[in-house]
Each structure stands twice: as structure tokens, then as C-alpha cells.
């Protein structure tokens, strides 16, 4: 390759976005072959990431930076450090396998839907790669939100079914809501320290001291965790992940097991060097992580849907990772993420194969597939054994390291009660996971074939290599990384977010503690598996609290109800109500402005000879016309009176020699009169409404208040005191010819100096014109 390392960083992020664009364009023609785009772009990114990793210098990672918003120090900065490259390799590697799998899995007659599926999947991959390599908090946030949106599109793949739409919406609401909190946290960090660069924040202690000095370390942490905990489906935000399992299986494998849900974990890993000093760090993350770790495993045993089982098991592992970060054991993050990605990816793909073959994912209907699908069975065994943490698999290494951390970790040292609580719950949770692995293998592949489902009898068949191949690759990774533990050890330590990571990973036990804990786990797990029926009954009896997603539904329904009620009361359709609100608010603004300018504080004496008598005469006529307007019994009279007012005002502009405004006023009055005549037919019968005296009084007060304030403002604004040197208008007049090339300052202001304001206004005009056209045309077509 001829690409320099600096150039290959952005290239590997943007290849997928180009691929997604091509997929959208070509999908209609290419159909299922669009999937090759996914495979190709993932493979290209994987190769680039692998080359970057091969040439990685831990002391000076490759950085690619471009200015984005230099004024606020937000930059397009990508940085290829070990942890980021590990994530990039994970995302592109599993992306390649999921792409191959999708080629055989996704079969739809509608080419456009296939195109949209692949476009969203490839764009998601690009966003994940960007998220992994971003070295700027704002850039990370942008990629983060792209993953949420593409995830929404992919979960909603079956958008013609309500469950698909609901699952997609719930995932979007939860993760984007958390993402907003996270953005606020990023802004806090950036605004106080003056830097958005992740590596700079992590390396420079003086920046962190600024956060501490401002007392914003813990608030920033809480806000950022809002994003991380929702994205990584931690309790109590975990409920969206099982609901997201309505997505096609490749999507569940890729987004909701291996990569996107790990984004929250990844973020916490990135934040540990920056916000880890906060006193809230360990309590929050350890508690949330431990609860999620245990309850996820516990719930997993209750489920019968293959994907729901795996989803809760994933929730459990995500909790474990959060807890590890809470205990500041960042050195084994890569070990845990990698081993989980390998076995969970395998199992999800196997679940997809089983569903593909039998058209069901319900464990109660499945069974005895060992003979029909021997290869799938073998692949499933690879994943399940690694999941249960038996040697010589990768999962065993990860579990041993985890137990060693619990026994010898520094944070827990000297707190025996806490330490033993965590140890007991962790062993129990791992035992549940062990039982779940047994339940999967025995439930699907052993036992009697379910007789009552004819799908199992007639259609069950071994899958093609396109389906089991990718699963087998992941399963072999789970086995191979365990067998080749010296290499594994070197790699996971080199890629960890902790630069001094030195986790001991070995198949040969050298410490009795973790081995003993593993033995207890296995024995307990076997016990739980054998006792699963009574345990399930016990679990059903204990499930008193409604599931979390119900609370979310109630919350959403509550928000809707409040906003509907508010809208009905506030936007009640009465023009009088709207005008009162707008005018009163204008009065408040005017009074505040005049008050601030000290105009109300000194005496102003008006002498009769100051008055300009023609203007007084016109004003008198104006008052008369206004009286006619309010006393009018017929609409036409009211229309004519208001036109008269308009022309009298124009007359005022004549005597005060303001031709520009005069012209505008005359033309607008003419056109408005035509309007009024045109719509007169459609107005309802003009009737004086009978109102209660108190309402009348309120209206009277509002009218007087508005009239008085406006009259005062006009009067004060014409005082000679206002014509000072620092007058805004004078500045415009001076600059009109030199900068705007015109002598008509009013027009120059409109089209040049304040042209962006005008653009907003003319856009509104266009929209109003189109709305009138659309509304009236459709109304007539219906009639």
C-alpha cells in the first residue's frame, strides 16, 4: 500500500461511508450483491487498521488532524493508539464476517430494502470506526450519534410490524437521550479546560486540575455516564437491548452484541484517565456494573427466546466491564471485550442459523438438532464453552484474569465486606452464565426433537458455508486465542486503554485463588442448570416489579399527555389569546429596555408649540377610525376602517417625509385590502361575543397597557437625546455606501448588512405561499 499512516487513518474511517453511499445508489440494481460492498469495505478497513497496528509506536501514535471549528478548539482529530486500533480491528473484523453472513442470510424480493439495509449497516461501521479513532470529544459525539441513528434504522428493518417500530423507537429514545446528557458533559469539560482533545486531556494533569478547581469533575462525569450507561444497556436503562432483538440476526450480532453496545464501555475507558479522580467514579460504576452483571445473568436464565437469552447475557457482560472500570482495572478491558466479542458473536450467528433453518427461536420448541445440523452444533460448542469459561478457551483466560483482579485488586484492598460481596455475586453471576450456556447447547441440539413444530421436522437442514463459515471463524478465534495464550497476553496488554497494562494471562494456573473460584463457578453452574425448572418458578414468583420497559412506556405516555394538555390550553386557536400574549411580551421587553436606558427617570416637558399640528390632525382622524373599527357591527365596515387607518398612517409618513416607508405602507395597505375582500366570504358570521365582566376588565387592562407602553416608546424614541454618537442607525448610514454600494440605507440593510435575517424571512414567505397552495388545493380536490 502506498498510503502513509497519517493518510490511512481517515481513509479507513471514510471507506465505509463511501461504501454506504454506493450501496444506496447501486442497491436497486445490485440487489443482494450489495452485500459484497459491505464485505469489501469492512475488509479494506480491517487491512488498514491491521497495518496501522503493525506499525504502532505506543509512545507516539499516528495522529491525523484537520481544523474544524478552530474558534472553540474543536478539531477533526483521529488518533491511532492501541485501544482505538483494537476497537477498529474488532469493528471491521466482525463487520467482514457479518457481511459474509448477511449475503446468505438476508433474502428479500424488494431490492430497495436490501440496499437500505446494507447502506445503514456500512454507515454504522464507518461511524463505529470513527468513534474508535476519534481524538476529539465533539467528533466522538458526532460518530456516537450516527451509530444511534443507523442502529434505529437497522432495528426498524421490519418497520411494517409494530414490534419492529416500537423496538427501534425505544432504542433511539434511550440512547439519544443519554447521548444528549453526554454532549452536555463534553461541553462542560471543553468549556472549563479549553480543550476537547481526548489525548491532551488524558496526558495533561493541569487541565484536569481546572475541572477539579471549578468543582465540575463529578457533574461532568455524571453527564458523560448518562451516555455511556444508556448506550451500554446498564441497569436501569438495559431494557432497550432485548427489545432491539427484533432486528435481523446479523444486526443483533454486530450492533447489539459485539460493537455498538461496547461503545459505552469504550467511552468509559477513554474517560478513566480524565475523570477517574472523581470520588463518584468507583461507587457509581461498580454498583451499576455489579447489579447489571448479576441481574443480566439472572434474567438470561429466565428467557426462552434464543436472542433474548443472548441479549441478557450481553447485558451481563457489559455490566462486568463497567464494574472493572469502576475498580480501575482498565488493564484487562481488551481481554474481556475481545473474548466476549468472539463467543457472543459466534452464538448470535448460530442463533440466526437455527432460526433460518427452523423458523423459530423459541427454546421450548427446539431440540435434537445435533444430528440434522452437525457443523452448526460444533460451531455452537466452540462459542458456548468459551462463554462458560472452561479451558482451554479464551473465555477461561478472561474469567481467570477477572477473578484474579477481584482477589488482588488495589481498589478493593482493605474492604473485605465489599470485596466478598462482589466476589460472591460475581461467582453467582458467572454460574448463571454457565447454566445459560448449558441451556443453549442442550436445549437446541440435544433432547427429543420437538414434535409439535412441523418446521423442525420438515425444513430443518444444515446451513451453507456462507452462514456457518463466519460463525466458525469467530468460534475458532475463541479457541485459538485461548490456546495461543502467550501471544494473547502480549496483544491484550499492548492494546489496553491502560498504557502500563500487565495482565497475566495463562492456561497454566499459578495461583490457587482464581482456579478455586472457577471450580466453584462450574459446580454452581451445573447445579443451577440441573435445578433450572424450580429456579425458574422461583424467579417467576420473585418478579413482582413490572419490567423496566413498562416504566419507560409510562414515562413516554406521561410526556405525551402533558404536552397534549399544554398544547390544547396554550395553542387554543383564539387569535385574541395569541395577540394578547405576543403584545404583552413585547411590552415587557420595551419597558425593560427603556428602564435600562434610564429614559423613565427624568422629566420630559412637552410644550404646545413643539407639536406639529398637521400630525395632530391626522392622529385625531386615526383615533376616530380606530373607534369605528372597534364599534363596527359588520365585517366590511371593520375592513374599510382598518384600511383607512393604514392610509392615514401613510399620510403621516408623507408629512414626515419618509418616502421609503410611505411607499411600502401604501402598497401593503392596498394588497391587504384585496386580501380582506377575498377572504370575507369565508369568515363566520360576525357576532359580538357576550363576555363576563371580569374577562372584559382583563381585556381592557391588556389593551390599555399595550397602548400606553407603545405610545410611551414611540414618544421616547423620537426624543433628541436618542440621536447620540453611538446610535446604531448612524453606523448603518455611514457604512451604507462604502460597504453596501448603495445610498438607500434601508434597502442596503435589508439585502446586504442583515441579509441572513432577510433570508430567514423570505424563506418563511415561500413556505407560507406553498402552504396556502397546498391547503387550498387539497381542500378543493377533496370537495
Amino acid at each position: 500500500m502506498m498510503l502513509s499512516p497519517t493518510a490511512s487513518l481517515p481513509t479507513l474511517v471514510f471507506i465505509p461511508f463511501v461504501g454506504a453511499f454506493l450501496a444506496l445508489c447501486m442497491g436497486r440494481i445490485a440487489g443482494h450483491k450489495t452485500g459484497y460492498l459491505m464485505v469489501l469495505s469492512a475488509l479494506a478497513s480491517f487491512i488498514l487498521a491491521a497495518m496501522l497496528y503493525a506499525g504502532l509506536d505506543p509512545a507516539a501514535p499516528v495522529v491525523c488532524a484537520a481544523e474544524w471549528l478552530p474558534g472553540v478548539d474543536v478539531n477533526f482529530r483521529l488518533r491511532g493508539d492501541g485501544f482505538g486500533l483494537f476497537f477498529a480491528l474488532l469493528v471491521s473484523g466482525i463487520g467482514t464476517l457479518v457481511g459474509i453472513y448477511s449475503l446468505s442470510y438476508v433474502h428479500l424480493s424488494d431490492n430497495r430494502r436490501v440496499a437500505r439495509y446494507y447502506a445503514a449497516l456500512i454507515a454504522f461501521m464507518g461511524a463505529m470506526l470513527g468513534l474508535a479513532l476519534a481524538d476529539d470529544l465533539v467528533l466522538l459525539f458526532v460518530f456516537w450519534e450516527i451509530t444511534s441513528i443507523t442502529s434505529f434504522l437497522l432495528i426498524g428493518f421490519w418497520y411494517d410490524q409494530e414490534i419492529g417500530r416500537k423496538g427501534a423507537l425505544m432504542a433511539l429514545q434511550v440512547t439519544v437521550g443519554g447521548g444528549l446528557a453526554m454532549m452536555a458533559g463534553f461541553v462542560v469539560i471543553g468549556a472549563i479546560t479549553g480543550s476537547y482533545s481526548i489525548s491532551e486531556l488524558a496526558a495533561d494533569p493541569s487541565l484536569r486540575e481546572k475541572l477539579v478547581a471549578a468543582g465540575m469533575l463529578t457533574p461532568a462525569l455524571l453527564l458523560c455516564l448518562g451516555g455511556a450507561l444508556t448506550k451500554s444497556a446498564q441497569m436501569p436503562f438495559h431494557f432497550w437491548l432485548p427489545k432491539a432483538m427484533v432486528a435481523p440476526t446479523p444486526v443483533s450480532t454486530y450492533l447489539h452484541a459485539a460493537t455498538m453496545v461496547m461503545a459505552g464501555v469504550f467511552l468509559v475507558g477513554r474517560l478513566l484517565p480524565i475523570l477517574g479522580d472523581s470520588p463518584a467514579w468507583t461507587p457509581i460504576l461498580t454498583t451499576v456494573g455489579l447489579v447489571t452483571f448479576f441481574l443480566g445473568a439472572y434474567q438470561s436464565l429466565r428467557e426462552f427466546d434464543l436472542k433474548a437469552i443472548l441479549a441478557y447475557a450481553t447485558v451481563s457482560t457489559l455490566g462486568l466491564l463497567m464494574m472493572l472500570y469502576g475498580l480501575k482495572a482498565a488493564d484487562q478491558d481488551v481481554l474481556q471485550i475481545w473474548s466476549h466479542g468472539a463467543y457472543k458473536g459466534t452464538l448470535f450467528l448460530v442463533a440466526g442459523i437455527v432460526e433460518h433453518a427452523t423458523h423459530t427461536r423459541d427454546l421450548r420448541k427446539l431440540g435434537g438438532l445435533r444430528k440434522v445440523m452437525p457443523i452448526t452444533f460444533g460451531v455452537c460448542l466452540l462459542g458456548a464453552i468459551s462463554m462458560s469459561g472452561l479451558p482451554p478457551f479464551f473465555g477461561f483466560l478472561a474469567k481467570e484474569a477477572f477473578y484474579a483482579q477481584l482477589l488482588h485488586g488495589e481498589v478493593l484492598h482493605g474492604q473485605p465486606v465489599l470485596q466478598w460481596t462482589i466476589i460472591v455475586l460475581s461467582v453467582l453471576a458467572n454460574a448463571f452464565i454457565f447454566a445459560v450456556a448449558c441451556k443453549l447447547v442442550f436445549g437446541v441440539f440435544f433432547g427429543p426433537p420437538a414434535e409439535d413444530v412441523d418446521a423442525v421436522d420438515h425444513h430443518a437442514h444444515e446451513a451453507g458455508i456462507g452462514l456457518w463459515g463466519p460463525a466458525a471463524v469467530l468460534g475458532l478465534v475463541a479457541l485459538g486465542m485461548g490456546l495461543a495464550y502467550p501471544i494473547t497476553s502480549q496483544m491484550v496488554n499492548g492494546m489496553s486503554s491502560d498504557p502500563h497494562a500487565h495482565v497475566h494471562v495463562s492456561l497454566i494456573p499459578h495461583d490457587i485463588g482464581p482456579v478455586a473460584m472457577s471450580a466453584v463457578t462450574v459446580l454452581l453452574g451445573i447445579g443451577i442448570y440441573l435445578m433450572r425448572r424450580p429456579i425458574n418458578r422461583l424467579q417467576d414468583a420473585l418478579a413482582i416489579i413490572p419490567p423496566m420497559y413498562k416504566f419507560w412506556d409510562w414515562l413516554m405516555a406521561g410526556i405525551t399527555a402533558v404536552s397534549v394538555t399544554f398544547s390544547r390550553q396554550w395553542q387554543n386557536g383564539s387569535l385574541r389569546w395569541y395577540f394578547s400574549g405576543v403584545l404583552l411580551f413585547a411590552c415587557v421587553l420595551v419597558t425593560a429596555a427603556l428602564n435600562r436606558a434610564d429614559f423613565l427617570r427624568h422629566d420630559i416637558i412637552v410644550k404646545p408649540h413643539d407639536l406639529y399640528w398637521p400630525a395632530v390632525a391626522i392622529s385625531g382622524m386615526l383615533i376616530f377610525a380606530a373607534l369605528i373599527l372597534v364599534r363596527a357591527q359588520v365585517r366590511l365596515t371593520a375592513a374599510l376602517a382598518s384600511t383607512a387607518i393604514g392610509f392615514l398612517v401613510a399620510l403621516l409618513f408623507v408629512i414626515y417625509r419618509s418616502p421609503d416607508i410611505l411607499l411600502t405602507q401604501l402598497l401593503i395597505e392596498t394588497v391587504s385590502t384585496i386580501f380582506i375582500l377575498l377572504v370575507l366570504f369565508f369568515m363566520p358570521r360576525f357576532s359580538r361575543d357576550v363576555v363576563a365582566p371580569p374577562v372584559r376588565l382583563v381585556r381592557l387592562i391588556v389593551s390599555i397597557l399595550v397602548g400606553f407602553t407603545m405610545a410611551t416608546m414611540v414618544f421616547l424614541c423620537t426624543l433628541p437625546e436618542l440621536r447620540t454618537e453611538d446610535n446604531l442607525g448612524l453606523g448603518y448610514l455611514e457604512r451604507s455606501l462604502s460597504e453596501g454600494f448603495g445610498r438607500n440605507a434601508v434597502n442596503v440593510i435589508i439585502v446586504d448588512m442583515r441579509a441572513i435575517d432577510t433570508t430567514g424571512e423570505i424563506t418563511v414567505l415561500v413556505v407560507v405561499g406553498m402552504a396556502v397552495f397546498g391547503l387550498l388545493r387539497t381542500r378543493r380536490h377533496k370537495a
Binding site: 365596515t637 418616502p659 394588497v671 453596501g740 454600494f741 423570505i762 406553498m770 387550498l776
Partner: protein, 170 residues
């Protein structure tokens, strides 16, 4: 001056034929409102003149009272006169709102060109083109922006006139 409370309810939906100034229209067809030979003859001459005046007002806007907005309103007023004299059927064959979309495109593109050349968005300047026969003259680029405003105002007002006129006809 206040009309008698018992006066005819001119504005109720049923009384369309009794509107002032609808001598020629058949009863019940307010679209025929004001359609008189006198008005038609006058408007034949007045509408083109008004449109020319509107263009003059638009053109002088940068230095004298006028501009795209007022010019557009005046042109639309001329259009309204034409509609009143000859009915809305002819004008209804056009989708006038498309004119306003065109105007918006012109305005925004005028502001985008300096942006693409590295200046600030909406940063206007003055052009000095040389044309054969006419010679050299000055055009502020803001005039293009103003032309967009003119088209938007004409398009929007004509849309509303035509649509409301069609409503009245039916």
C-alpha cells in the same frame, strides 16, 4: 358613521351576489366580482405600466426609495388588478409558488457564491461588467439577491390571490 345594526349582513356566506361592485357577475358567482368592461379596458393599459413601474422601483432600490420587496408587492398588485378584470382562470394555469422557490434559490445562491470563493456567507460586492454597445456599468451583487426577493414576493402573493380567487369561484 357606524352602520345601522339592522343593516344587511353583507358578510354572511349566503349573500355573495349582493356584494358591492359585482354588476356583471351572475348571481352566486363571486368569481365574477368586479368584472366590468371599464375595468378590463383600464387594466389592459394599467397592468403593463404598473409592472414596468415596479421594475423601475426595484431597479432604483439600492440608491432611492424602492427595492425588491416593494417592487414585488407593486407587481403583485398589478396582477391582482388583472385577476379582478379577467378572472383567475388564466393565471391559475401557472403554479405561482414555483416562482417564489426560484426566487429563493437565486437569493441563497447569491449569498453562497462569495462563501465558495472564501468570503463570508452573504458578503456582497460590486461588479463592473463591460458589455458591448452598453458599455461598462456597476452592479452590486446585492441586486441579484434583491431580484430573488422580488420574485418571491410576486410568487407568494399571486399564489394566494389565485388560490383565494379559485375558492371564491366555486
Amino acid at each position: 358613521m357606524t352602520p345601522h345594526p339592522d343593516g344587511p349582513e353583507l358578510d354572511s356566506p349566503g349573500d355573495k351576489s349582493s356584494l358591492p361592485g359585482s354588476p356583471g357577475g351572475p348571481p352566486g358567482s363571486p368569481g365574477e366580482l368586479l368584472r366590468s368592461p371599464v375595468l378590463q379596458t383600464v387594466s389592459r393599459a394599467a397592468v403593463p405600466v404598473t409592472i414596468i413601474v415596479s421594475l423601475i422601483i426595484f431597479n432604483q432600490g439600492h440608491n432611492l426609495p424602492g427595492g425588491g420587496f416593494i417592487g414585488g408587492v407593486l407587481a403583485a398588485a398589478a396582477g391582482a388588478m388583472h385577476l379582478m378584470a379577467f378572472g383567475v382562470e388564466g393565471a391559475a394555469r401557472w403554479n405561482w409558488w414555483k416562482l417564489s422557490v426560484l426566487g429563493l434559490l437565486i437569493s441563497i445562491m447569491t449569498g453562497t457564491v462569495p462563501f465558495l470563493l472564501g468570503e463570508a456567507f452573504m458578503n456582497h460586492t460590486e461588479l463592473h461588467p463591460h458589455l458591448p454597445l452598453i458599455g461598462s456599468f456597476h452592479v452590486p451583487t446585492a441586486a441579484f439577491y434583491d431580484a430573488g426577493v422580488y420574485l418571491i414576493v410576486v410568487g407568494m402573493l399571486m399564489t394566494i390571490f389565485v388560490e383565494l380567487g379559485l375558492e371564491n369561484r366555486e
